[in-house]
């Protein structure tokens, strides 16, 4: 194919590559300019580095955290809680949505409760979890679950219900049981919903974990942020926020990978 490129095609492809290079270049410029401007403003006294911190001091803080070995403990704790919360929220939520799809009675009975629970700001439950489960990982994961579970249930259930009725009818004429309709049709055809639920849940899990760590913990990135602000070490706060952004972005990429793997596993080709 590459040998028989017409001149117009080659020119078009070169143009596409140029445009893509320009986008990457401008992104890099934006990043460098942001940090350089920040540093400059701090050095010229335009911004007080005690309140706003600055990139050079954040770098020192980062090296300090790295050399004391605490950094990976904090990252590990937060990432672990997020992954557990994410998996539990997604699996449990999908399981409950399956039950609702299965039983019309159950879904009709539970409908108003789900609506109320969905409307409730879940962070209000934080203190309750601490009392029930103590100040530790359990309460944090409960927090994460509270935030992601109801959304997962509602989204997945809505996805299940959107299954094409003609196809359900077709499977029934082929003799499919309710269980077979679910496994052969409803679940695979809800894959786009599952994919969007995964992406939303990874973000919600981070919210739950950081929220929980603000309230109770002795470790984790949320703890570092709260601790830093209490002792007025803005360098620590800012550094941790940047690390958090990187960790969350990496995990999002991981979820995209998981999505691809699931797609392959389920044999979804479209």
């Amino acid at each position: 194919m590459s040998e028989s490129l017409s001149p117009a095609r080659a020119a078009w492809l070169a143009g596409q590559r140029r445009a893509s290079r320009r986008v990457w270049f401008l992104r890099a410029v934006l990043l460098v300019a942001f940090f350089a401007g920040w540093e400059l403003a701090a050095r010229t006294g335009l911004m007080d580095p005690f309140i706003f911190s600055c990139p050079s001091r954040m770098w020192e803080t980062f090296i300090g955290l790295l050399s004391s070995g605490d950094l990976f403990l904090h990252i590990g704790v937060s990432v672990g809680e997020t992954v557990i919360g994410f998996l539990c929220g997604t699996l449990l939520g999908t399981a409950i949505a399956t039950l609702l799809w299965w039983s019309d009675l159950l879904s009709r009975v539970l409908d108003p409760y789900l609506v109320v629970l969905n409307a409730l700001p879940k962070t209000a439950l934080g203190p309750i979890f601490i009392v029930w489960m103590g100040a530790g990982g359990g309460a944090i994961i409960a927090m994460t679950l509270a935030i992601s579970l109801i959304v997962t249930v509602l989204d997945m259930y809505a996805g299940f219900r959107e299954t094409d009725r003609d196809r359900i009818r077709l499977l029934r004429t082929l003799g499919a049981s309710r269980r077979q309709v679910f496994t052969h049709l409803v679940l695979p055809s809800s894959f786009p919903t599952l994919a969007s639920v995964l992406r939303v849940n990874v973000g919600l899990s981070w919210v739950g974990v950081i929220m929980g760590e603000f309230l109770v913990s002795r470790h984790g990135l949320g703890y570092l942020i709260v601790y830093g602000s209490q002792v007025f070490r803005m360098d620590l706060v800012m550094t941790t926020v940047l690390i958090l952004a990187a960790a969350a972005a990496l995990m999002y990429q991981g979820v995209l990978g998981l999505e691809k793997a699931l797609k392959k596993y389920m044999g979804v080709t479209v």
Binding site: L171, R172, L174, G175, H184, M266, V270
Partner: protein, 251 residues
Amino acid sequence: MVELSDIYLTYQAPDGEVPALAGITFDVAEGEFISIVGPSGCGKSTLLNAIAGLETPDSGSLLVDGHPLRGPDPAVGYMPQKDGLLPWRTIFSNLCLGLEIAGKNTPARQAEVRELLARYGLSEFAGKTPSQLSGGMRQRCALIRTLASGPKLLLLDEAFSALDYQTRLAVSEDIHNIIRREGKTAILVTHDISEAVSLSDRILLLTRRPARIKHIYSLDALRGIPPLARRDHPAFREFFNAIWKELDLHV
């Protein structure tokens, strides 16, 4: 093959009862091709769904192959308007769907499916996904999927209506030939009178809702003539006009 006598079916809806079928009686002989036509919304599809075992009549008796029908039956194959092929499966695995559901997805049965594909020139599509096929090809594959489960009776619910005109002629001719060659009995629901006249041995004309049988046409003058050739036959116009007139009175 199919014996319906005095079938009544009424839908219960929140704002009242909707009578759909009011005393339908007819027989379909083995190997016969029957079309059901009638005004839109008259209950044609309800009747077909009842024979598919998807709807249970309130009264009357419905025998398929000599047995009373209780729910979906392996002797009855159903082909919807949309091909219903699952986009995440290859064509071949779509065709084996019925076997898989019945727990009969054995190498022997798979070989039969491959043979069906080969017989009707569709082998090259086995490993493709439905989105890679044209609408006409997908509809042919949908028929093979229906045949794969080994039904004696085929129910075609507006099976060609989603296709464009030229494809519809070609596919209906093809599917008609396949059904004849495999020796199946078929009942087609359609709103297209010319399609009914070109394909059928007999045509059932239904009244407006609730559906009764208004007239049964025996197309003896056209028997043995293939669908496309029928369209040029003088008797084709006569049947078309007769049915059109009867339908018109009721619309």
